[in-house]
Amino acid sequence: MPLERALQVSIVALILLTVLSQGSLLSWLEPARKLRWAALLVFAALALVYALVGFDRRRLGFAHVGAALLCALALASVLWSSFPTLTFERAAVFTVLLVACGALGLGVAGRTTSTRRFVEAIVGGAALVALGGLLVLAFRHDRAVQPATSVLAARYQGLGGGPNTATMVLALVTPLAAYALLEARRLVARLAALAVLLAVLGSIVASGSRGAIVGGFGGLFAFAVLAPTSMRQRVTAAAIVLALLVVAVVITRIPQPQPGAPALPSAQEEPVERPPGKRPISPLDPPRLSDDVGHPKFGVAETTRRPRTLFGSSGRAQAWEGAVELGAERPVAGYGFGTEDRVFVDRYAEFNSNVPENSYIGIFLQLGAVGLAAFVAFLAAIVVRGAAGLTRLAGAERRLSAACAGAVVGGLLLAVFQSYVYAVGNNATGSLWISAFLLAGLTPARRRPVELG
């Protein structure tokens, strides 16, 4: 029990520090960047001890073998990486995370009460993130809200460094927070859980982050469909989630761009000093390399306004196409694990990121078709096995398993919009893998296992 409490604290710390390390409070960035690795190591050490206490080899299963293969593939890519040192460092950190999550899954295998404690820890971490965002809103409004521009409405970012940052972990946690609300028995606990769910959903909606909305509500939908045992309950729960989604989308359309607003500092070009030399050059600055693709020919004015729309891709479609073409230049084995932000170059006029913002394309760039197939097959197998195993579960155990499955489904949907699944420093990565291994630990074998806890 003390070990489980320590693990809970380490999970909360890991979530909070990873958000702060990419957060809106600039003076906290550096300390948080260092501390998040310490939090990961503490979490890994505690999880290993937890797994070793009462270690039973028979609990090692598909998830552990699959994770070992993923780590082996990531580490082996040092052999063909364009950046071998970077690949080794990032693959090693990824291995630490998967070993920690695998050990946690091993320790809780079949123990509902313990699993629930770790789910509560993830929800607790996200609750602090949501609450922290509200505090930033109250005391540093300028840091909590990205101001409106001529094409973008104002967007809430809370504790995150941007509207799409902290909302990633919040999206993933949405089904877990809903589960915590359903399971709370005492009035105070129920009110606290309701407040957390509202803060999580409110932060996502106020951010206008489409990836977080799809991930959060997608995960919630999966939970709504998987948790109930009767068809009628399923249909009702799914209808409620869809109605909530419609309301959320409508709310995101309320804030409007301000036609007269100045451009964000990040969108303004830095003036280039060009002192005259003895050889005359063009008086104009060359086009930005980050705007090459999609920029009209020299002398042709760009007059199209491109406001952010509900189904617009924010330039992602262009960047994805370019990233896939880049990946196709090394299609089987890729450029090496952890090299995504070095290999991908933002050359796209409508796009602004140093990664393609799609985990599937990101893994294709890093480990080629082999790596993409391995990652997708592994995570999909965990969800499918978990969903299939639900038929052999009932009551609280079933709801817990469904909540973890919802978190993984939400994470996989979020992965369509964000490059993060393999990036350990990202705030949502730890929660995704912990949820995946908790789900694997809850998934019963074909025959009903003996209750160990």
Partner: protein, 138 residues
Amino acid sequence: MTRKHVFVAAMVALLAVAALAVIGRAEAAHRGREQSRGIARLAAEVGALDSPSLDSYRYFSADVQCLLYRRGGDPFALELCIDGHGRVVEAIDRRTAPEPRIWSLRDDRSRSSVRVDRVEVNRLLREMGWPGPLPPAP
């Protein structure tokens, strides 16, 4: 699972990794040749670095600078980016904008087989007025 099964599975995994390493390295080499071919074509089209169509420069980083050449009315139509070793690591043809043709080995510079005289690059950058430090010529 018996020990024999584990041993066989480990051997299969090891062989798969070895095969993947061979494929990965072959892919990197193939890409290096393909991109170098595109870079070489554009460099040939530019001709002498000191051509009269040289119309601008870009200080990309301390190690990589680019020379831009005019074609028609576009002063930035062709661009060659050169690293400190004189390797041309990127070439851009903007005549097809908004879909420019780009060949790049920015992430794998050592595979570029196209070399230019770094001393001359530095001289041109100075002549165009670049006041800052430049990589020492090899």
